[in-house]
Symmetry: C2
Subunit: 144 residues, 2 copies
DNA sequence: TAAATAAAGGACAAAATTATCTTTTATTTT
DNA sequence: AAAATAAAAGATAATTTTGTCCTTTATTTA
């Protein structure tokens, strides 16, 4: 459903949020290890997230990535999806038609409408912080 | 969400169903024109569908593609999805983890469960025939 | 039986995605 | 100011997906 970049991006952001809640920064190596992703590719993805103000990056010997408390409390899954993929996954036509709406519906339009709406709601209402907390409590995982 | 191959495959199958309900076969050229897809690629996709008994193909001057009445009444969207993509879209982990289930859930597992279940239900319960009929009635489209 | 037709099959190309590697830039520490 | 560190940026490579082209096979028709 999501691109590999987006999957890694979500997982990395949750890992960064985990550390940020403890007041710590976390570097690339540790992130990619924690989420089991290729380092250089993950670096690219994190650059995009930083550029779009989803995370904060710092260079230098005490550098790394973190999230501000404002970011922690406001960033939703949809923010990451929009940055790394695009929102077509929950706004676009299930059959790839460029123009598909209630006025000109594709054959799958009505079947997909509900699912798309639910996906949209989930993405827009699931915060990185709550995902970090479920990870923190040990209830969920970021890697195998 | 679906691959281009799967999108074309669904649209093509609906178009074939439309013709089959009128007792007609339809050739590749007409199909790809009706759904606005690249002919040679569509041919490849139709080959796969025929190989998996979703449609029937015939060579020769009166050849083309069709669906039997049994196929018309039994083929579901999920059959096409399973053939052309795989069912990971509604059985797999939202974050791409190879092992993610209720025992070892990823951070997104519980958010996705409902959506995945709905998607599964929709795909397994939407028949090609009903999609063809909504197209026939002019309520929906297969192309722009 | 030959010709025509349309699908099947295989090879190849282009584009996109995933991933790797190298260099540059910014920051801290000594 | 130099050295070390870590991110940013850019280039390149590998893989996958999408798409194109050519040949072969199977069937019908005259």
């Amino acid at each position: 459903m999501f691109s590999k970049a987006c999957e890694y991006g979500i997982r990395a952001t949750v890992q960064i949020a985990l550390q940020s809640e403890k007041g710590l920064r976390i570097g690339l190596k540790e992130i990619s290890n924690a989420i089991d992703s290729p380092e250089p590719f993950t670096a690219k993805i994190l650059q995009q997230l930083a550029k779009n103000d989803i995370i904060i990056s710092s260079k230098g010997p005490t550098g790394g990535y973190e999230m501000s408390s404002n970011q922690l409390s406001t960033i939703m899954l949809s923010d990451i999806v929009k940055t790394l993929d695009c929102d077509l996954i929950y706004t676009g036509c299930g059959l790839g038609l460029a123009t598909c709406d209630a006025k000109n519906p594709c054959v799958l339009h009505f079947q997909f409408d509900d699912i798309r709406e639910q996906l949209k709601k989930m993405l827009e209402n699931t915060s990185i912080q709550q995902l970090a907390r479920s990870r923190e409590s040990g209830d969920t995982l970021l890697r195998l």
